[in-house]
């Protein structure tokens, strides 16, 4: 049964010459799981908002959107609100009320559902999602992943037929994100719920979806089964860079046949088609300078007297001129490490030295002057002014001296920029203090694959200028690509440390998809490029 039909839809924002979306047509069958991808500004969010009537922006629109055979314009208010569910990107800001149970009941209250019915449906939903334990909590106490799960549950409690999600996992750590996607898959299979989602993090979602759609500059250019779409976009690196590692390896190898999507599929594909006579690439020898930029020795820290140690016996040395990535689970103390290094929190025991001097010796905030700077996780907290230009003037930054170009963003409000642009603008402001040691907290959070690769380039260029960089990240692929050394943070200290090749090939679970795919077949292939390179060197098996 056809649940959603979009025909010749075009939309133009007021005061804009170019159309945001143009002549988009597609249909969704009941129970289909569709993923929409495309670069920043390609009109993905606009398209989603055209389907959810309440969120449709003002502007010139032509074409029709029909839901279950009826134009969405003619649906009555209650059906339009409840039958199409919408989950947005930022977990925090979609939450309306202060208590978990009230948030679940909110949609039902709006529809005027009776007490008994509301009690039943919220209880049911809480049990299905395992929310029971925190049903009575304040929403401010929840983690990001829990908040997004609550947003999903409080939309589903209204029993929608179609669920629309706009980058729901962008702000979550990888584990919470794959849990969230697993939940979506379960909903899709158990209840045949129709799902349409926009996503950047495609590694987990492409293998489970039925349909992959690509939107480019407002045009729907590809739509079909994921394997087919990947085959047809193989030459387009700016779209491909977000695809699963298996698909990227496949595309890099110029090979016909269906594209593998999962790690399992990728492994089979490599084993069937390529030999492993040469098992590893020649290692690029890495030697760091002998001068330490940041030294932490036996550091202990806790937030309150009663709480447990967040940092316990932390030893960490970062040498000047290197990019060091600190990886680890949620709440393991990674961010706290950066705060301790930048003296935002005071440790109760241990020693921290920056460029050979103790933190205490940096009097009068000289620490932050041409020495150390930190870019926080939420980059919106960096901005204080109304335009990027004022922002940079305020900090005394010179746009031309930056290792990247943001001159086209200068007259925009910082909050109107996309995630990747915000990240670069904030970094520009931080760089104004000419730090020699730069601390970054999750610089790739919420970024699409293209912005992420741009961030990698920027970091490399900064490194070439002699800046030492310590980044905290959840993103193993990013760390594998840009780090000189990586460290795994667990239980308040760094438990293992090494170059990406050593580090990721040593880990079995906390590692990149390419490394999992080639484990035991090739050695030390941690990025998709390295794996593809090895395949190419070994050559296709004969007789095929």
């Amino acid at each position: 049964m056809e649940i959603l039909a979009v025909r010749d839809l075009s939309f133009k924002y007021p005061m804009c010459s170019a159309a945001a979306i143009e002549d988009v047509s597609f249909t969704l069958e009941k129970g289909e799981f569709a993923v929409l991808c495309g670069g920043t500004g390609s009109g993905k969010s606009t398209l989603l908002r055209m389907i959810k009537r309440e969120l449709t922006p003002l502007g010139e629109r032509c074409g029709t959107v029909s839901f279950m055979g009826r134009d969405t314009e003619t649906l009555d208010d209650r059906t339009a609100a409840s039958a199409i569910g919408f989950v947005m990107q930022k977990p925090e800001q979609q939450i309306v009320t202060d208590k978990v149970w009230h948030e679940l009941a909110f949609g039902l209250e709006n529809l005027g559902i009776s007490q008994e019915e509301t009690a039943r449906r919220t209880a049911e939903m809480a049990s299905y999602f395992g929310i029971g334990e925190w049903f009575d909590s304040d929403v401010s106490q929840l983690s990001g992943g829990q908040k997004q799960l609550l947003n999903l549950a409080s939309v589903l409690v209204m029993q929608p037929e179609l669920l629309i999600l706009d980058e729901p996992t962008a702000q979550l750590d990888p584990i919470a994100a794959s849990d969230f996607i697993a939940t979506l898959k379960r909903l899709n299979q158990d209840f045949s719920l129709t799902i349409l989602m926009v996503e950047h993090r495609l590694e987990d979602v492409v293998p489970v979806c039925d349909r992959l759609m690509v939107l480019e500059d407002g045009h729907l250019t590809h739509s079909g089964r994921p394997e087919e779409v990947i085959t047809s976009i193989r030459g387009r690196s700016e779209i491909m860079c977000g695809m699963p590692a298996a698909a990227r390896i496949y595309c890099a190898l110029e090979h016909s046949g269906a594209s593998p999507l999962t790690v399992r599929g990728g492994r089979r594909y490599i084993e069937e088609n390529y030999s492993n006579g040469q098992r590893s690439l020649p290692d690029a020898a890495y030697s760091h300078s002998s001068e330490p930029a940041l030294e932490m020795k036996d550091v202990y820290f806790r937030y309150t007297r009663e709480s447990e140690d967040v940092l316990s016996g932390l030893d960490l040395t970062v040498y000047s001129g290197e990019i060091f990535c600190l990886l680890g689970g949620n709440g393991s103390g990674k961010t706290t490490t950066l705060k301790a290094a930048s003296e935002l929190v005071r440790i109760y025991s241990g020693r921290i030295k920056v460029f050979g001097r103790k933190l205490k010796e940096y009097r009068n905030r000289t620490l932050y002057n041409e020495c150390l700077a930190m870019l926080p996780q939420d980059v919106q907290t960096v901005f204080l002014k109304n335009t990027v230009r004022e922002e940079l003037q305020d900090a005394g930054a010179d746009v031309n001296a930056l290792p990247y170009d943001i001159s086209h963003l200068l007259d925009k409000h910082p909050y109107d920029l996309s995630g990747g642009e915000q990240q670069l603008a904030a970094l520009a402001k931080v760089l104004a203090a000419k730090p020699k040691l730069l601390l970054l907290d999750e610089p790739t959070k919420g970024l699409d694959a293209y912005s992420r690769s741009r961030m990698t380039e920027v970091l490399r260029r900064l490194k070439a200028d002699g800046v030492t960089i310590v980044t905290v990240t959840h993103d193993v692929e990013f760390a594998a690509e840009c780090a000189d050394r990586c460290g795994l943070f667990f239980g308040g200290r760094v438990v293992s440390c090494g170059t990406p090749a050593e580090f990721f090939s040593g880990n079995s679970f906390y590692t990149t998809a390419a490394s999992r795919m080639t484990r035991g077949y090739y050695d030390r292939a941690v990025t998709a490029e390295q794996a593809a390179e090895l395949c190419r060197l070994n050559g296709r098996r004969c007789g095929e």
């Binding site: 208010d77 209204m158 905030r365 932050y368 907290t381």
Partner: protein, 292 residues
Amino acid sequence: MRSFSEYDPVVIAVFFVTVLSVAMFCGHPIIAAITLFTGVIYNIVLNGRQHMKSHLFFLILFIVLAAANPLVSHNGVTVLFVMNHNPVTLEALLYGINSAAMIVGVLYWFRNFTRIMTSDKLLHIFGRLSPKLSLVLSMALRFVPLFKGQAEKVHDAQRAMGAYKDDNIVDDIRGNMRIFSIIVTWALENGIITADSMEARGYGTGRRTSFTRYRLRGEDIVFLAADLILFGAAIAAIVTDSVEFTFYPVVRGSISGIAGAAGTAAYGIMLLMPVIVEAEVRIRWKYLQSGI
């Protein structure tokens, strides 16, 4: 078998209103003594040994309030001594003690009230009056910690970027003002998304209901009835002037007749009701546990 804090919020609210309306408007020393005494006892029942320091604070407050009156008011006929050519009288001292007992007693009951009346319960009450008002309150309650958290984050971010170059108070104040201004922008920006989320979930499509997880049970009704009867008896005694007291010019007053005695007793029992409920629950639990 629930402790008083788990009773229906409406019952709790009615109880506190009745208690405070007698306590604040009847100046009889015995009434004030009952208010203070039961207020402290219930506070200890609720908090156990925590907050012992706050009791000390209230003791000091009591002494200050009691001593202040005879120093500024010189009414009364019994002069105790003369200080700075001003007579300090016994009546003024007693009046001070009485009003201190009343004020501190009422403060204690307010503390007990805020301890029991969590935001959920307040919302339940407002939800009955107006579902919209209750939603606005709930959103405000969510917003306060959000706003505070963001302000802290912005402050940290600015500091670690070297936004303040010196240990300089003027610089710090200016910095805080700029943070406040951007936080307001942030809040508005945030509000747009929240509004989208509300609209997407059908806000404004029709009449709202207000979901509540409380329902009125037998115990609630019994408690409410007892409260209202005792309150009636106390009010009757006050209205008929059976409980009256004056301090100036001479201390004079009484509790006259059966009405007066019954009213005072009723008030005392009324204020002890939460403690009685609590004691009953604890004893029953002991008994039940010994049977398990």
